[in-house]
Amino acid sequence: MPLALEATDLACIRGGRLVFSGVSFRVEGGQVLAVTGANGSGKSSLLRLIAGLLRPSGGSFRVQGGTEDDGAIHYLGHADALKPALTLRETLRFWSKVYRQQGRVALDPDFDEAAEKVGLIHALDLTVGVLSAGQRRRAGFARLLLSPRPLWLLDEPTSSLDRDGEALLGSLMRGHLSGGGMVVAATHQDLPIEAHATIHLGEEP
């Protein structure tokens, strides 16, 4: 049964301010939804809302179809959730332990494979603190590979990336979509993949 994320009339109030309202969309498996809008228009808030980090002040959303596990989400936010004192390998090991057993991809125990896929194979034993912003972004991508989850919520995924990094993001997204996954990405710039649908937040009625 095909997966779909359906949102109806979502509204969000933060700090007493109405950030957005009346947001409705439907994303199906294998599709990309782009969320655009000016700064402060609520792109990040929308993603956090779907991720379950914010409560909607109106409307609802749900994931249709699939098994119970298919409510699982990968969220890539502004903060990279990397501890500078740990090495990349230790970081990946930690996150692979966080994700539940059945959702875990059988990666090699030293995470060479994941690091290879994002081009950080030589950085595995370096402490995360010495990595650049672009490399940290790639480390975040590696985290996405640790566990197969149908919905990817990406907040400005292209920031800090050079052209190679954008190409990498594109190939990762393509792989995810071909497996039936969905991507909702908030972005200023063009995504490396053509979005199937776009929502623009902050338009005046």
Partner: protein, 253 residues
């Protein structure tokens, strides 16, 4: 013998210390051999304390070196902040654990020395308590150094703490003595009264020289280790950089 400014180059320091260290070790061993022989067999036992007074020959040099090390760190701190000598903060950072170790040795030997007379391992004697405070200051410095990722920045911040502490040490000593005399008579740990008998003085001086030589050798060892550590860190940063993207600036030593 290279001057201080010539030694400011870490590579030259590494070469210099590699040449000098074996001699320092030999000197330390020789002095310890002589000093231990003198203190254990030649020096007289105290009429009051018996043989246990011999621990003074370890306790006093350790205490003197604990303070001396801190003064060395204070000079190094000035070197970091005022003259920007590149090895000054390496010296200070490497000296701190040694100073802490000597202070700890002084505390333990002082405690052992005093136990037969006090009946307790510790009586908050003014002088020993000041040393306990000094020990905590050393530990704090070591913790402060470890808290920073960037060694150069850590060095500057720690240098300020060292200088603040230097001003404070006489004040602390004075206040602790004042605190102690309110409740107890003066400390029992006296080194034979106002003037030290020569038979006690010479072993003491030899042991002091031995400790100083040991300190110098150990300091060179720890400084070399610190320089290598920083080089490894810089290499790591360059490794990350060589993957094609900028990293933060690596201040290689």
């Amino acid at each position: 013998m290279p001057t201080l400014t010539e030694l400011a180059n870490p590579t030259r320091f590494l070469a210099f210390s590699a040449r000098v260290q074996p001699w320092l070790w030999a000197l330390a061993v020789a002095l310890f051999a002589i000093g231990l022989y003198l203190s254990l067999f030649v020096a007289p036992a105290d009429y009051q304390q018996g043989d246990s007074v011999r621990i003074m020959y370890v306790h006093v040099p350790a205490a003197i070196l604990a303070i001396g090390c801190y003064l060395l760190m204070a000079i190094a701190a000035l070197g970091t902040l005022v003259w920007r000598h590149p090895l000054a903060d390496v010296a200070a950072r490497s000296a701190a654990p040694l100073g802490a170790a000597f202070t700890f040795l002084g505390l333990v030997t002082g405690s052992i020395w005093g136990k037969p007379m006090w009946g307790a391992w510790w009586v908050w004697d003014a002088r020993l308590t000041s040393f306990l405070v000094l020990f905590i200051m050393y530990l704090g410095l070591i913790a402060l150094w470890r808290a920073f990722d960037d060694p150069a920045r850590a060095g500057r911040v720690a240098a300020i703490l060292v200088l603040v502490g230097t001003i404070n040490i006489p004040i602390i000593k004075f206040s602790v003595e004042w605190w102690n005399t309110l409740h107890q008579p003066a400390s029992i740990l006296r080194i034979g009264g106002p003037s030290i008998h020569p038979t006690m003085l010479y072993p003491l001086l030899v042991m002091l020289a031995a400790f100083a030589a040991l300190f110098a050798s150990l300091l060179f060892t720890t400084m070399r280790a610190e320089i290598y550590r920083r080089r490894i860190r810089a290499a790591e940063m360059m490794a990350a950089q060589s993957m094609g993207i900028h990293t933060r600036s690596a201040e290689a030593v």
